[in-house]
Symmetry: C2
Subunit: 229 residues, 2 copies
Amino acid sequence: MPHTYEFARAALTVDIVVFALDEEDLQVMLIQRDLEPFEGQWALPGGFVRVDETLDESARRELQEETGLQDIYLEQLYTFGGLKRDPRERVVTVAYYALVNLEGHNVHASTDARNAAWFSMNDLPDLAFDHSMILQTAHERLRGKLRYQPIGFELLPEKFTLRQLQHVYEVVLDRELDKRNFRKKVLGMEIVKETNEIEKDVAHRAAKLYRFDKKKYDRLTKQGFNFEI
Amino acid sequence: MPHTYEFARAALTVDIVVFALDEEDLQVMLIQRDLEPFEGQWALPGGFVRVDETLDESARRELQEETGLQDIYLEQLYTFGGLKRDPRERVVTVAYYALVNLEGHNVHASTDARNAAWFSMNDLPDLAFDHSMILQTAHERLRGKLRYQPIGFELLPEKFTLRQLQHVYEVVLDRELDKRNFRKKVLGMEIVKETNEIEKDVAHRAAKLYRFDKKKYDRLTKQGFNFEI
DNA sequence: CCAAAAGTGTTAAAACTACACCCATGA
DNA sequence: TCATGGGTGTAGTTTTAACACTTTTGG
């Protein structure tokens, strides 16, 4: 059923930059395109926004359809509206970024039968469209936001060690941190709660597991506390 | 000439939150709508994105057409895509915010014969659409960004006194700052340059005028310097 | 018993906060 | 000469940065 308008309209899409962390690197999820344009090339997951869904809904739906990822941290990043982004026609895309912990989520090839895979940020293929720029913008946002908002926890399982948390900061900020100072700072903020569990299956002394105490964080924030690492 | 598409498309607009500062308050520019829906109500300047212009271009054009403002600091804020934002049909809007100094820019009623005016943030009328939410988001962004990016200068004339700069911070952050500490900090960063001019027409000792040294700021930033007030 | 990472305190330097007075100018 | 805001320094406190050893555990 065709739809007609008095003035030409841009197509509207969402694209999502999904970050995760492995032992070494920051990783990003890409899918291999099976359609023109850029057939065979890697691209960010995403797709057209339906007229009856919000932008957030659209981003979550596309992510679910193309990668199987669900219930993850998702935030709007920036809207890209260059004239030649897509060789076919004018397409404006609302970009999102998402954070997941690798252990809790299995990625699968999608309903669209596209190939979905993780890539290290240090070894990226050429990307379709202007997706390299979107990815770069997302990376900058993540780096900038990590220090002032408690989003690093989203890259970890629910229970994590302080070393794991430190690793998040070291990888994303790309610099080493002092272990003692880091622990002092994190524990001093009182927004992580010790569980009575410890690491399993490690060939050395097992570390305590902590949990992000969101309620406490919200309470403190309301009182003027500002997260900063 | 009508345009037909296989799937329904949202209309795409831009809306701009223009901030300025007077002696007292933070101000925002609003226009009075002369068309349904919300005829007669106040709203943010903005309008439809043409298919052959980028989002930034669109925002600047609308601003120029509706308020006469040109050559001002403009930055994308957030994209609002709720289903019922506009009672007529699905409209997605890319919101921007802008900073101007009142002295340098005269606002005029526009080509659309709408009434454009400044309102104090402390005394706002009801706004059309979801513009109150957009305005609130912009205000939060401004507050958050002011401390970490040198955007406060955009609210001042090219040459300004340190007191004026302090006033920007006090009004936007809504708290008083210590004069000596503020000066120490600003001068210590070495990103404002003394001119050899002083204030005019004041009934007391005239203050030195300074200028934001963007080149120096860029140089320092490249070397890892982080602006913070 | 060895390898590996967990866990822990102190000190010096830097940054921040609070605070009060004299100075220059125009009316 | 007076009212007004411009301009300046210091001391106490807090925060940050640098740094090394002992403990626990599994292999």
